[in-house]
């Protein structure tokens, strides 16, 4: 569209904004799907996963709005404000959600499927890079270092793609048959647990 003479500046701007919103919406959908995927094999956490996603989103939205409201930019024009504000709010929420998810999985020692972790990590790499750039844009204006930031965005997106495609090439982990422990081992395990129970 950029090279087409028939497309006006306003039409290009509208199409560009729509592309940003659709992209942000799809990224939220992917994060929601990862949450669902990670928690679905644990009945105890199925409801909790959805609840954590909703509450984290709401909380991060408040944080994003507060941060955006209190930031004073020096070089913002009317046309730049809307996408910058939305970009930054969306990136804060997405990075926050992915950090919450990864910390929760680490704390609860849940097991990842072969693809879920790389998808989350790749998206996290891209979103956090975009957040750094959105913060610079908010302060110095949309056209701050456009060439450098364009390169950084491309490199970040390529790295995320690399993570995702590498994960696709790795064969799905087969369920490892668990080496059955010996009766003596189980007896000592039971004794240790019994001691805990009797304390």
């Amino acid at each position: 569209m950029d090279a087409m003479d028939s497309v006006t500046r306003d039409q290009y701007y509208t199409a560009w904004l729509i592309e940003r919103y659709v992209s942000a919406g799809l990224r939220f959908a992917v994060i929601h799907e990862i949450f669902h995927h990670v928690f679905r094999t644990y009945p105890a956490l199925q409801k909790l996963g959805g609840r954590i996603f909703r509450w984290s989103t709401a909380l991060l939205m408040v944080v994003a709005v507060v941060l955006v409201a209190y930031t004073t930019g020096t070089n913002l024009d009317r046309l730049s404000v809307v996408p910058i504000v939305i970009d930054r709010a969306v990136d804060i929420m997405q990075v926050g959600l992915l950090v919450v998810l990864l910390l929760l999985v680490k704390y609860l020692r849940l097991t990842w499927s072969t693809y879920a972790l790389p998808v989350a990590v790749g998206l996290g790499l891209y979103s956090s890079t975009m957040l750094v750039m959105a913060a610079f844009h908010a302060h110095y204006g949309r056209y701050f270092e456009p060439v450098l930031f364009g390169h950084i965005e491309h490199i970040s997106y390529s790295c995320s793609n690399l993570v995702w495609f590498t994960a696709l090439l790795i064969p799905e982990r087969a369920v490892q048959p668990v080496e059955p422990p010996s009766a003596e081992e189980l007896e000592s395990w039971n004794a240790a647990l019994q001691r805990l129970l009797e304390q």
Binding site: V121, G124, L131, P181, E185, Q194
Partner: protein, 174 residues
């Protein structure tokens, strides 16, 4: 500029976290013996005393306010340590339960699922209880009790013992 700096710093930290999480792997214990050695003893009776509201009321009425606050902070720190032990043991039982879930034996797999669920609930519960006690550590007047931890912990360890017993019986039968 300060808020922009904070956002950039947070985003860079998140970026580092994603990179580290991408290349790192969680520590797992391979043998049951290794798991058994990692079990931390937790004195549930002492924990019960530390979090008992009547004990707290007694100390509050018997001691001058400044001394009460100092002692209460010590008690809360000890209670948080105990909860850390409970949470650590729940993580070990979670690993045991996850392994048992994959068993070809239906009974073992079923109890394994139960142990996994109980252990996950225990991990969540102990995290919330530590949060409550941490709030009370900062605000000594806050009325937050980590109730129910002991019962849930005993329920979890009982389920794990049951799992062990089933497996021992099967081993002996073989």
């Amino acid at each position: 500029m300060i808020i922009t700096g904070v956002v950039i710093a947070a985003a860079v930290l998140a970026l580092i976290f994603f990179v580290l999480r991408g290349v790192g792997a969680a520590r797992t214990y391979s043998t049951l013996q290794e798991l058994t050695q990692q079990i931390e003893p937790v004195d549930l009776e002492a924990f019960r005393n530390l979090t008992e509201p009547s004990e707290e009321e007694f100390l509050r009425s018997a001691l001058p306010p400044s001394q009460f606050r100092a002692i209460q902070r010590e008690r809360l720190r000890a209670a948080i340590d105990y909860l850390g032990g409970v949470s650590h043991n729940a993580a070990l039982l979670l690993q045991l339960g996850q392994a048992a879930r994959q068993s070809a034996d239906q009974q073992v797999a079923e109890v394994g699922r139960r142990v996994t669920d109980d252990a996950l609930r225990m991990r969540m519960y102990s995290m919330m209880a530590i949060g409550k006690l941490a709030v009370r550590y900062v605000i000594p007047g806050a009325k937050l009790q980590p109730g129910g931890v002991i019962d849930r912990y005993q329920q979890l360890t009982s389920a794990a013992v049951r799992l062990g017993k089933i497996q021992v019986a099967e081993k002996k039968a073989v």
